[in-house]
């Protein structure tokens, strides 16, 4: 492929990705924007002022969403790193079945999973609460973490740990000084993915949170449904923020230190 064609294709791709977002961005700074007009007639920051006004739900939703996403990502990492290690390093009977079961939540519709879990959580008193939402967010986040980490561990040489032990490192020291640094890039990628997946959850948050736990996606759907294009625009821009930041971070991880993922060899 010629360099010129490649650049052209790249531009087309970028345009295709950005184009749908443009109207949203414009909505958040437009006053009166009607059909024949290509650009809004008047510009304003009124929607943004409204969004962060004292009585607005948006700031607290922003905080809740961030908190839930952080907690869900942390929990998914805590569970997904050991699971990924087991799947990446060892061969055992029924491994394919375990892998399938772990990835099933990605395939099964969220609403089905959510309704099933709702019954259980109801009995446990976890519905309508932030902890309940964090836990249910593990359903979509954990498979991503396990998937990324098992890939990282498949390239990880556990002999390095045996070497460290022989050099006098205790098991926790091995974990901290040998394993974690070797898989750190993978942890970053997996954690960011988990954060993003949790950040944009709608169905599971709604079913388990019962409308009491208000996150950005919930507000976004509500405002879009109510025809408040200006508020929907603001919410869409806010929702986009972490994604862009994370994309920038991960892109550096993936390209700048390409070797970093994949371990110690």
């Amino acid at each position: 492929m010629s360099p010129r064609l490649r650049i052209l294709l790249g531009l087309v791709l970028i345009a295709a990705l950005i184009a749908p977002l443009l109207p949203l961005a414009l909505w958040s700074v437009a006053r009166g924007w009607f059909f024949p007009q290509i650009l809004p007639a008047n510009w304003t920051i009124e929607p943004w002022m409204q969004a962060f006004a004292p009585r607005s739900e948006i700031p607290s939703a922003l905080a809740t969403t961030t908190l839930i996403a952080l907690a869900a990502a942390a929990l998914a990492l805590a569970l997904g790193i050991p699971a990924g290690r087991a799947l990446g390093l060892y061969r055992f009977r029924g491994k394919a079945l375990v892998e399938l079961a772990l990835l099933a939540p990605v395939i099964v519709p969220g609403i089905a999973v959510g309704l099933g879990i709702h019954g259980v959580f109801l009995r446990l008193g976890l519905t309508n609460s932030v902890p309940g939402v964090v836990l249910v967010h593990l359903v979509p986040t954990l498979p991503y973490v396990i998937f990324v980490m098992s890939g990282v561990f498949a390239n990880y040489d556990a002999e390095a740990e045996a070497q460290a032990r022989s050099l006098g490192a205790r098991p926790l020291q091995v974990l901290w000084h040998v394993m974690l640094p070797a898989i750190a890039p993978g942890i970053v990628v997996a954690g960011l993915f988990a954060f993003l997946v949790s950040w944009s959850q709608y169905i599971l948050t709604l079913t388990i949170g019962g409308g009491r736990v208000v996150t950005l996606p919930l507000l976004l759907y509500a405002q879009a449904g109510a025809g408040r294009n200006d508020q929907a625009g603001v919410l869409a821009m806010l929702s986009l923020g972490p994604g862009l930041v994370i994309l920038a971070l991960v892109a550096r991880q993936l390209t700048g230190r390409g070797m970093a993922i994949g371990g110690t060899r």
């Binding site: 040489d157 002999e159 390095a160 045996a162 070497q163 460290a164 032990r165 022989s166 050099l167 006098g168 490192a169 205790r170 020291q173 000084h177 040998v178 640094p181 070797a182 371990g263 110690t264 060899r265």
Partner: protein, 345 residues
């Protein structure tokens, strides 16, 4: 410095047909360098890992200075294992790698820096402390791995095929370095190798391990020239085995009566001699054979000859091999000192 005793070790890997260690017993003296020699899959690396504490044996005991260490985890054993691949930590520079063990012991920073510098000096890498492992050559990596073990001043150094990943010319250099460092530090060393030459050069003694147990232990030349059994002889490239009976310093066989060296075992057995020990010409133990085949093998030529249904192989240099033409008779001398009897075979 530590005296290592392995006592009747048994180990079978799960699902394996044959045991990896089969009644393995071995003693490495204080300050000695013992080469554990064997073909791949003979259990020698497993033995090393058992000593390091990375694998627990099914039965048997590992003793350091007479004290059993079976209950100690690897990090609390006096032994440090240097892995075949070097196993440098990729996320640390060379100095951090060498200082790893000392950091794990929480030594003062200044002491670590001093000992790391000394350690790198010992392996002639004094100025490479800031390099990353992937910036090093194979030989340098191996030297860093060695320094990383030596800075800990272990009682026992375990080397797993330390030269196998190196080019031929680096191997000689590294071999000399290991030998020198072992002499200087006096650390009891167990080195595992599949290379006979390496074992002979590195080891004060060589232990030949086959099928999970030690077949023979002694000086390199002894194993080479005075094998204890058929497997040992075969491992060292022995290919001439002549059945017969040894008595009174002579061996009766299809070739006639051959004079044996002093202290050769008596009784029915198998006469063996190394192919390169055979000489052309007349003298004691001279026999006539018919040449069957000659094969050029570089430095040496392998000549197969036959008499009375018995085949002998000889490895000779170009000059001596020139006279051998397939189909012709040839006179070979089997030097008395090169003969050995494997009893009961």
């Amino acid at each position: 410095m530590t005296r290592l005793t392995l006592n009747d070790l048994h180990l079978r890997h799960p699902g394996a047909e044959r045991p990896a260690l089969d009644a393995l017993s071995l003693e490495v003296g204080n300050g000695e360098m013992l080469a554990l020699l064997g073909p791949s899959g003979c259990g020698k690396t497993t033995a090393l890992r058992v000593v390091a504490g990375l694998i627990a044996p099914d039965a048997g005991e590992v003793r350091f200075d007479g004290v059993s260490v079976g209950h100690l985890p690897p990090e609390r054993r006096e032994a440090v294992l240097v892995f075949q691949s070097g196993q440098l930590f990729a996320h640390m520079d060379v100095a951090a790698n060498v200082g790893f063990g000392l950091r794990m012991q929480r030594r003062p920073k200044r002491e670590i820096a001093r000992r790391v510098a000394e350690g790198l000096e010992q392996v002639q890498l004094g100025d490479l402390g800031h390099r990353r492992p992937h910036e090093l050559s194979g030989g340098q990596r191996q030297r860093v791995a060695l320094a990383r073990a030596l800075v800990l001043k272990p009682g026992l150094l375990l080397l797993d095929e330390p030269l196998s990943s190196l080019d031929a010319h680096l191997r000689t250099e590294m071999r000399a370095l290991i030998r020198r460092l072992q002499r200087e530090t006096g650390i009891t060393t167990l080195v595992v190798t599949h290379d006979q030459e390496e074992a002979a050069v590195l080891g004060d003694r060589v232990a030949l391990m086959l099928g999970g147990r030690i077949h023979q232990i002694g000086a390199g030349a002894t194993l080479w020239n005075r094998p204890a059994d058929l497997e040992v002889a075969r491992f060292f490239g022995g290919c001439n085995f002549i059945p017969g009976r040894s008595s009174g310093g002579a061996f009766d066989c299809a070739l006639g009566q051959l004079a044996l060296p002093h202290a050769a075992p008596a009784g029915a057995g198998c006469l063996t001699l190394r192919p390169e020990a055979i000489e052309t010409g007349e003298g004691e133990n001279a026999v006539t054979l018919r040449v069957i085949e000659t094969r050029f093998e570089g430095l040496l030529t392998r000549i197969t000859a036959e008499v009375a249904g018995l085949r002998l192989e000889a490895l000779m240099r170009a000059g001596a091999a020139r006279g051998a033409t397939p189909g012709q008779d040839i006179r070979w001398r089997l030097p008395r000192e090169a003969l050995w009897v494997l009893p009961g075979v």
